[in-house]
Symmetry: C4
Subunit: 123 residues, 4 copies
Amino acid sequence: MTNIGRKTWAFAGGNIPLETRGPEPDYTSHERLSVLNPSSKSASLELTVFYEDKEPIGPYEIKIAAHRTKTFRFNDLIDPQAIPLETNYGIILVSNVPVVVQFGRLDSSSGEIKQQGFVPYSE
Amino acid sequence: MTNIGRKTWAFAGGNIPLETRGPEPDYTSHERLSVLNPSSKSASLELTVFYEDKEPIGPYEIKIAAHRTKTFRFNDLIDPQAIPLETNYGIILVSNVPVVVQFGRLDSSSGEIKQQGFVPYSE
Amino acid sequence: MTNIGRKTWAFAGGNIPLETRGPEPDYTSHERLSVLNPSSKSASLELTVFYEDKEPIGPYEIKIAAHRTKTFRFNDLIDPQAIPLETNYGIILVSNVPVVVQFGRLDSSSGEIKQQGFVPYSE
Amino acid sequence: MTNIGRKTWAFAGGNIPLETRGPEPDYTSHERLSVLNPSSKSASLELTVFYEDKEPIGPYEIKIAAHRTKTFRFNDLIDPQAIPLETNYGIILVSNVPVVVQFGRLDSSSGEIKQQGFVPYSE
């Protein structure tokens, strides 16, 4: 079971909503990634963020212990640089071991919560 | 037609909502898996649940008769252990025969029903 | 461009909502399949419907002209037999030429329209 | 990292909503594509639009600079011809370099915003 997953994942249509209505942090508008590391080794992920009008920024480094999941919000990535809100971006993620990834989005900007979830592109 | 599908499926971003508003069981907040077993043999599935901060738990065993579908809620899995609500989890599912899987989610916690559906990662 | 797509598609989590609120046919609760036939030959699709507690039913036959799309609702399939509402089902679709498929769902039962869309499993 | 992605993408179930409620352009009902070009070469995309009852129309040409993303609405494609609203369509996209694609949809026609996002079919 420890070899399940892929080392490379990507998505193209990121955009963190600017506004939030409702109690934080549950209702905070955000985009997030959930990563499952089924391997018996710690996973080291390197994310690169791509934009419409400037050079890619990265790597952002994320670690996930062996046999664990981790969910993190793109809103919270600050090193080397925060991702600006209401800005189109894309992500390429490269892991040292195979992992399984899921994208999530919560948009509370209209006062009503919208949720999305899907599996990004992998190879 | 009996060989359609994959033996290994996984998703990373599970989280069963804590609260429900509206009549049960239709409006009960839940996450679920639908499995189609097109093969002429009964399918035996073993699920392992991964968490952020503790060892994986499993296997959970699910059987699906030949040429049948089955839909079950993660809320209802209790053996070997219930999945705690409002807790991030991921799943790896291994079947003895190829199957086709779909993830579903219903969140009624805000009083308004949100639905999601997608195809998990497979290999 | 005429060879793009796959000949086998499947999904596991179908369930047509029973109730509709709002003007038909736009607001009619339904599940549907959209099929793109990029090939220069007419596509002949055979669908088999799988259930939780009875034998599969089919084939349902759908034709899509060369270089055309077709969108049909599962609600409207009646030959050899209508798909019962509020009943879990799964689909296997086999085409004579490669096609591209998308699943869609509209649920107006709560008075508010919910929409879903995703790409089914293919091989 | 420059070879990540696929050169061919497609989806079958396009349909741009006719009506918009709320301030434009943020609330304008639309369908869109986000493209990530991780390669070190400019990407040249050719889109062909397929319909239910007429010949395919195209190519629509889109360029994405090296190491950049681009998001465009199908509503805004006008050369060689605008895509009619409330009309079923499908897309085949061919790129000269591998790219990563995501489909998005916003429907404000009922006065309430519905959002969808998923990864199209690729090969």
